[in-house]
Amino acid sequence: MKTWKTCLALVLVLSLLLAAGCTPSKPNPTDPSKTNSTSAPSKNTDPKPSDSTNAPTGQKQKVPIGVAITLSGDNAETGRNFEAGMNIALQEIEEQGLLKDYELDLKIVDDQNDTTTSLNVVNEMIFNTKVKAIIGQIYSTNTLVTLPICNENGIPMLVPGLNPTFSQNGYDYFFRVCGTNEGGQTAGFEYFIKDLGLTKIGIISETSENGQTSYGIAKKIMGSYGLEFVCDENFTTGDKDFSTQVLKLKESGAQAVYTTAAATDAVVLLEQIRQVIGDDILVLANGASESNFLELAGPELAEGVLYYTVWTPALQDQKSVDFVQKYEAATGRQPADVSARGYDATWIIATALASMDGYDVNAADFSAKLADAIRNVDYTGLQGTFHYDDVGEAFYTMKLITYQDGEHVVVRDN
């Protein structure tokens, strides 16, 4: 009996190894309970606290920066894309020798796209790790609960999320590193209504906080044109049956539809739309900006699908071309717009630090000084030039992109 059990266990282990060996893409396990510390390489890595406000010359001070992003669960890919963008920025910062006085010490922690975990992660970063700034979080639901904590404790937060409400609460320590949903949707609806003269537009939104915020903005924009959605439907995240929503969409005679669905859901929805309604309806999908959308949908299904973003791999400026090359070399695939956000966020922090003339990292007001430096930063990154306004915004407009033969093509550059 024991021999039989041993054989069974061996066969199982072998089958799992076989499965792992022929995995379509290599896994990147992340233990959410552990903190990854990524530092830009430096000749001297020992932090030397000093009594004065300036560190001794020739010695680099370690600046702990918290990075709270989603690295596990359904949306882990987004976090990984963000992290990959950060890594390229770190490499460039080191190569260019931008930081003479400091060394970036990134404390990357998985927020599991969960509000409770996010709260714990950010509290841990602020009160135990004593980070000087936080980069994160990608998903608005989490940022909504952690941004007030950062603000109360004077920790600058560089937010890569699109929820426009963040900058409407008077937070002094809030800095967005991308555009907003409002800007993106404005670009999309202007294209539908002004450019194409469409009046029958439908919406299929998630019942999540993110989906409903996007829905509220979309409704407001439609209202500004004196229009209402001809089809107004919801779905629960993870539900893969859109047959009812699609039938209602067909019945409404909509000429275009906007969906807040993330990549996988957007692809399933798109398949069902094409099956039932055909190609006669334009689709604007938030999830189409994600890197795996094209992979999942394929060029044929993705053809003509629209999404909004500040940055896309389709941009042909030298900075973008270089970034895409480096990203592809490092990861083997195309970057997503969120990769550009990670890249720019890292560069903004580094540029701000470089302007601080070696101010003592242990000084009580270091984070406040860093916030001032970020506020006054003059940095031109992948997404454009960052000049923060009073509410922490850098961009109010976004580009509208479509897929043509599997390539990203700019349709409207607001």
């Binding site: 792992a20 896994p27 949306n75 439907e233 779905f235 993870g238 049956d241 990549a263 399933v268 099956q275």
Partner: protein
């Protein structure tokens, strides 16, 4: 009328997805008397095996499916040996909790092995949409419905006409008595779990082209499967099909005529209605307890 007919067809198609998985769920319940919460995740593991064999290794589908079934059955048997068997003599609540734990472990293991992203799975039944007047049918969905019905018929035959099937029924009625009558409990247990995992793999392969393959693909559908099983009657094979189809219909009709916002809630309402009026499920047998 056309719209009503179309939405009913959509509901039945959706229901057939639930039904095919509920069959595997019910076979464990009917023999072992335990609710297998991890059935959706077993389906997910099966779909990943199929993805490896069919897409990555480019094996023909008629080779990929049996290989996936074998691998998934092995995984299921190891789970049974390590996690469930030590708890058979304990309360059923403990077993249920254990299946919830197994579900989480499987999901996390899948994320470690295959990653967290979604994977495309090519359709195994290609074909254009079938239009009958203004009503349309998706070939892949028709196949799911067909496979579900065939599986149910075969299972019923197996349970009633074969020695092993009858032994499985005997075990479900009274484990101790069945053991005393010479039924090898260990073999029957292994066959039960093996069949359930095999069916879950088939369900995963059928669903993968529609919903894609990802580590949490069994979560949402797993809950619907439990509802389908209870509505149809726990342990009943025709009940599995009926429960699945009803859940799909209620979801589609509720979404169409009430609101899509509460689409996930309609099956729960159906569950409550059935439990209040017929606690054993529509086709379930009332448990008679000797006092």
């Amino acid at each position: 009328m056309n719209l009503f007919l179309q939405i009913c067809i959509q509901g039945l198609m959706l229901g057939s997805m639930y039904a095919i998985l509920t069959l595997g769920y019910n076979i464990i319940y009917s023999t072992m008397g335990m609710a297998h919460y991890a059935q959706g995740d077993i389906m997910m593991v099966g779909a990943f095996f199929a993805l490896d064999f069919f897409v990555t290794m480019d094996l023909p589908i008629y080779v990929a499916i049996p290989l996936s079934v074998i691998c998934n059955v092995l995984v299921m048997l190891v789970i049974e040996r390590l996690a469930y068997r030590p708890l058979y003599s304990r309360s059923r609540t403990l077993l249920l909790l254990c299946t919830i734990g197994v579900s989480t472990v499987l999901r996390n293991a899948a994320q470690l092995i295959w990653g967290t992203q979604s994977f495309n799975f090519p359709t195994i039944f290609p074909g254009d949409i079938i239009h009958i007047g203004e009503v349309y049918l998706v070939p892949q969905n028709l196949w799911i419905l067909g496979v579900g019905v065939v599986m149910m018929l075969l299972l019923n035959l197996f349970m009633k006409k074969t020695k092993v099937g009858r032994a499985m029924q005997a075990v479900s009625m009274n484990r101790s008595a069945a053991a005393l009558m010479g039924v090898n409990m260990q073999t029957i247990t292994m066959i039960t779990y093996g069949m359930s995992a095999g069916m879950a793999t088939l369900a995963g392969v059928m669903l993968a082209p529609i919903v894609k393959v990802y580590s949490t693909m069994g979560v949402s559908i797993g809950a619907k499967v439990m509802i389908s099983a209870v509505v149809g009657g726990m342990g009943s094979m025709p009940g599995a099909i009926l429960g699945g189809l009803l859940v799909g219909l209620v979801e589609a009709l509720g979404g169409m005529y009430i609101s899509t916002t509460f689409k996930e809630a309609y099956p729960v309402v159906l569950l409550l209605v059935v439990l209040l009026n017929r606690p054993q499920g529509i086709l379930g047998r009332k448990k008679v307890v000797k006092v």
